[in-house]
């Protein structure tokens, strides 16, 4: 026996003797003498590569596992999207795994819907219940009455879900995400003839002009762009990239800008076109780029006649001089880059406004050049899933859906104005796969709990990567804590239970097998190399990262593309009764609300307001003073759709005619940390009436605000007065 071991044992014996009064000494000694299974070394941590599926960005992660328990999530340095970096949300998914209120096994509803009364059942029982319902549909020859609703899945999971629905004989796989970039794909198709998502080369740009694109918070790939932003600022020896932000509310992204242009909501497109016109009339455009895109400067200028500077200044509420200055800087500081984001797209005239911003990139010659914008290597996705959603709601309303399988929490993330909640209530059998009792699960008849992300297999295809093929691989890093099963496994098991054509559609034994097959197709292992070796390698590095590869077809303004023509913005609610614009924005911590059950994220002070554990409404101090509202007062926000009570935050970075509420809180369920906390602002949203069909114009609702009382119960991490006293520490 080595001296060290002896001392260790001696120490343990002593400690054991000391503690033997309260518990058996053996209990404490054994793990040190008999080494546990699975090659676990006490005190030595292992790292497992995986991928994050919390938001669509799809970053690579490394999970530190110690003695069979996941301890910490870090970014995977090998992953080209996040390069070892990770946002707050990605690190917090550890708490999804160990959440104290997870659904530990399948549940069957016993009380009325929404009462939260469930009985635990076994998986066998749960699966046969589901299969029974499905085979009933088969017997009735009404297989189209099955609907599967998921978030916008990609990769094998999307394929599997599609296959399940198709094999069953239903056309209804609804893939709706409130924040999905459908609008960007659609605009790209209209302007450039290809629906791929763009990849912005922020790191190399010298002048970044963001129209409501909050790329540091949630837009497309926040960690990827956050990394690029750091390099744009200080990554080059002599150049510091300049950043101007256009938007009525100073978002976290806008807070990092050198210049903030608080534009009137809905006039962003007009601003972009006004700048375009100025660039054209002052001949500051990039002639080569214009020629390559087949645009004639004179003709284009003539098309933009309406957007002369005084007119644009009036529409946007910005000084003429500022608009002209930014337009000139943008055109004369190559490479420059204009981005359009959700805050523009979710206006009533959003689709055209986004294209107006794209036109700026054409004018300044920013297409397909370093520091500009490239087509991303990402796969195509839905371009108008909102229309699918509305059609689906219509079907449910007409009692034409018999079984709805729901993965995700649409009841929380779909604005009630779509009629979704009432329509879902009419569906006779609703199945939820949520790992927590979220709003949707509370309304479900059967809950078949999914694994936590860290217990799952999967492939994660990031929507934004420079070029080439990037597929992140998820692998279970711990043995499952509860009696849960992964969503794709449940679909496959159900198919097997149904038998016949359904079972035949899934020849693989498990989802893992399917995943491996898909990866095998991607890597084409050279002759002689065993795929298992390749597979283990892929798992070890966290996925397949082929970043050199092809560049893809570059962007080019298509000949058919019309000149962007954003209409005059329309809003739900008249400006007399509802004098303020409402902006709903994804919370930095919770994204669309999926982060709300995680206490680390609840405790994380919102970067802009430093509020913790709550919802709030941001009001310009001048407006608040006019309404007699003080910091932290409880106020009522009323829209044509309804009203909410929540505390007010006096926010100097917002237009006086605007208020803003973050998304993410207001869950009816979702465990002890989220339940009943804050409000869900989506309840306020109304759809602006637009003759051409419904648009997801989430930022086109007007509201009014009234003070209720002093008891807002608002908690901020920072002292509200001290937050204005930066001069005391010379900041």
């Amino acid at each position: 026996m080595k001296r060290r071991t002896f001392l260790q044992l001696g120490g343990m014996t002593a400690a054991g003797a000391w503690l033997s009064g309260c518990r058996s000494a053996n209990e404490r000694l054994i793990p040190y003498l008999v080494s546990p299974d699975e090659g676990v070394t006490p005190g030595r941590a292992e790292y497992y590569a995986s991928a994050c599926r919390f938001c669509p960005a799809g970053c690579g992660i490394l999970v530190r596992v110690s003695e069979g328990r996941a301890k910490k999530i870090e970014g995977n340095p090998a992953h080209p999207v996040n390069r070892g970096k990770l946002c707050a949300r990605g690190q917090a998914i550890l708490q999804e795994l160990y959440h104290p209120d997870r659904v530990p096994q399948p549940l069957k509803r016993t009380g009325p819907r929404g009462s939260g009364k469930f009985t635990p059942i076994s998986w066998g029982e749960g699966l046969s219940l589901l299969a029974g319902r499905l085979s009933a549909l088969q017997r009735e020859r009404s297989t189209e009455r099955l609907a599967l609703m998921t978030t916008q899945l990609r990769g094998t999971l999307a394929e599997l879900a599609d296959r399940f629905v198709a094999a069953f004989g239903s056309p209804h796989h609804i893939r709706f995400d409130l924040l999905a970039p459908d609008w960007l794909r659609a605009a790209n198709r209209r302007s450039f003839g290809q629906a791929s998502l763009p990849w912005y080369d922020i790191a190399e740009t010298r002048y970044l002009l963001s129209f409501g694109a909050d790329f540091l918070e949630y837009h497309l790939s926040p960690v990827h762009y956050g990394f690029a932003f750091g390099r744009m600022r200080q990554g080059r020896d002599t150049v510091r990239g300049h950043f101007t932000y256009v938007g009525g509310r100073m978002s976290l992204t806008a807070a990092s800008a050198d210049r903030w242009m608080p534009v009137r909501p809905g006039s962003e497109g007009a601003l972009a076109l006004g700048m375009a016109r100025l660039i054209l009339t002052e001949s500051l455009y990039d002639a080569a780029s214009m020629a390559a895109s087949g645009l004639w400067p004179e003709r284009l200028a003539a098309g933009l006649e309406a957007y002369d500077l005084p007119q644009v200044a009036q529409l946007t509420g910005l000084p003429q001089q500022v608009i002209a200055e930014v337009a000139r800087e943008f055109a004369t500081t190559p490479p420059s880059l204009a981005m359009a984001g959700e805050m523009v797209a979710f206006q009533d005239n959003g689709p055209e406004a986004v294209r107006a911003v794209q036109l700026l990139n054409v004018l300044a010659g920013n297409l397909n050049r370093p520091g500009g914008v490239f087509p991303g290597g990402s796969v195509a996705g839905p371009e108008n899933s909102f229309a699918d959603l509305l059609a689906f709601v219509e079907r449910m309303r007409g009692d034409r859906i018999g079984v709805a399988l729901i993965h995700g929490d649409p009841l929380h993330t779909i604005p009630p104005v779509t009629g979704f909640p009432e329509a879902l209530a009419r569906v006779p059998f609703v199945v939820s796969f949520s790992p927590l009792l979220d709003d949707t699960a509370l309304q479900a008849d059967l809950i078949l709990p999914d694994h936590a992300a860290l217990e799952s297999w999967g492939d994660v295809i990031p929507p934004v990567a420079p070029r080439g093929t990037v597929i992140g691989l998820m692998q279970p890093v711990v043995t499952p804590l509860h009696d849960t099963r992964q969503f794709p496994e449940v679909l496959m098991a159900t198919a097997r239970e149904l038998g016949g054509g359904m079972a035949a559609a899934f020849p693989q034994q498990s989802y893992l097998e399917m995943l491996k097959e898909a990866m095998k197709k991607e890597v084409h292992p050279a002759g002689g190399i065993d795929f298992e070796t390749v597979w283990v390698d892929l798992l070890r590095q966290g996925g397949l990262f082929k970043t050199e590869g092809k560049g893809g077809k570059g962007y080019r303004w298509t000949a058919e593309a019309p000149v962007p023509a954003p209409a005059e913005p329309r809003f739900a609610g008249d400006d007399k009764r509802f004098p303020l614009h409402l902006q709903i924005y994804p919370s930095t911590a919770f994204y669309d609300g999926r982060g709300a059950p995680l206490p680390w994220l609840q405790q994380l002070p919102d970067p802009m307001t430093t509020v913790v554990w709550d919802s709030w409404v941001e009001i310009n101090p001048a407006t608040a003073a006019g309404l007699g509202i003080g910091f932290g007062d409880l106020v009522e926000v009323t829209s044509p759709r309804g009203s909410l009570h929540l505390p007010a935050v006096l926010y100097p970075g917002i237009r006086p005619d605007m208020v803003a509420i973050p998304m993410g809180q207001g869950h009816r369920g979702m465990g002890r940390y989220a339940e009943g906390r804050g409000v869900n602002p989506l309840a306020l949203l109304a759809l602006a009436d637009n003759g051409t069909g419904p648009l997801p114009a989430w930022n086109a609702t007007r509201v009014r605000v009234a003070r209720i009382s002093k008891e807002g119960n608002l908690v901020t991490a920072g002292n509200p007065e001290g937050s204005y006293r930066g001069e005391l520490i010379e900041i």
């Binding site: 920072g718 002292n719 001290g722 005391l728 520490i729």
Partner: protein, 460 residues
Amino acid sequence: MSEPTLSAAKSAVRMNDAMLSSLRPPTLRWYLLAFFLGGVVAWGLYAFGYMVSTDMSCTGLDRPVMWGVYIVNFVFWIGLSHSGTMVSAILRLSRANWRRPILRAAEAMTVFTVTIGGLFPLIHLGRNWVFFYLIPYPNQRGLWPNFRSALLWDATAIFTYIIGSSLFLYLGMLPDLAVARDRCAGWRRTLYGALAMGWRGTAREWLIFQKASTLMAALIIPVAVSVHSIVAWDFAVTVVPGWHSTIFPPYFVIGAILSGVAAVITLMAIIRKAFHLEEFLTPLHFDNMGKLLLVIALLWSYAYFVEVQTTWYAHEPIEWEVFSFMAGRYTPALVLMLVGNSLLPLTLLCFRRIRRSVGAMLVISLLVNVAMFIERYLIIVPSLSHKNMPFVWGTYSPSWVELSVTAGAFAGFALMYTFFAKCFPMVALTDVRELEARKVLVPFARAELPSIAGKEGGDD
């Protein structure tokens, strides 16, 4: 104007009777008082126990205000303890004979207040149960406390002061204990006999007693000054705006003496009434103490002015922020402090009639101590509330636990005093009698008037 002086015909026995009256068996009222005080102490102990057994979240403390009412109490009680030193030692050395009837009360107060004050740093610890880490005891791992910490200086100074003032009290009481021994029977006789250590009152004993008393008086003064300087250093040596000030040590000492003297006046008024010692504690004594209070209130006002004036003139942003915050949020308290510590004593104590009115003096002295408590609060809490980093500014208000412990401390002090008064001679018997003995009739024109300005020392 005739002074109510002691009658020349008064016999030693009568004097002994009067001055040892407090030792008579307790009355029902005494028991009621003791029970009431005991109840409050028990409540305070319960609150403390609750805090220790749960956690410190039941206090009002937070970040950045990590010190609150406990430390206010600490400074306040240590301040009060300057009564005994001031009245007893300084007046002994300066041979002010009017001190004699009150010095016992003052010395006892010193011992009790410093004991209670010394408890507060232990009460306020996050982990009271490992308080012994603060004590330099030899241990195998060679871990010693950090003598660079002002808290350890505190501990050292306070222990010295407790020991010193206890000795001082005990030494002064020695002949009285012998008198009490001779007049008592039963357990009291045994107790006083043991404590009197065989005092017989021989000339040699008196000589040694005289020397020792004078020596102790001379020694205790620097200790007292150092104690409160060190308490002030707890604050002054930090980098907290509003604390980091060179005026703090003398300012704290002056404040301590102010509250000490005021507390002695309060006690004099109470003892005089409770034990019917009107004969010994005359308005003359109140007059003299009033003069002393007036002088010290003047000094305090000067120190406060200096502190504010330098801060205002320098206008260092964060320091001035602390002052403006304090003046804004705590305006009523600030006004009360200035009135109680400065305005009222400075105006009223100029009038002899007020100085000689026991009731007025009681009110003024109580007000001074209320104001001193506020002063400690306004030094400690606002400075921490608005420290250097504006983002983490905070506020503080004491919780029921802290207030209960504070109430318990006040009741505990009163209870100790009540017990002490019942067990030991409250008036320095031999000192007073010595004065009587020295009293000579001084020819004044055609009359012979008693003088209390007899000379001390062994040379006459």
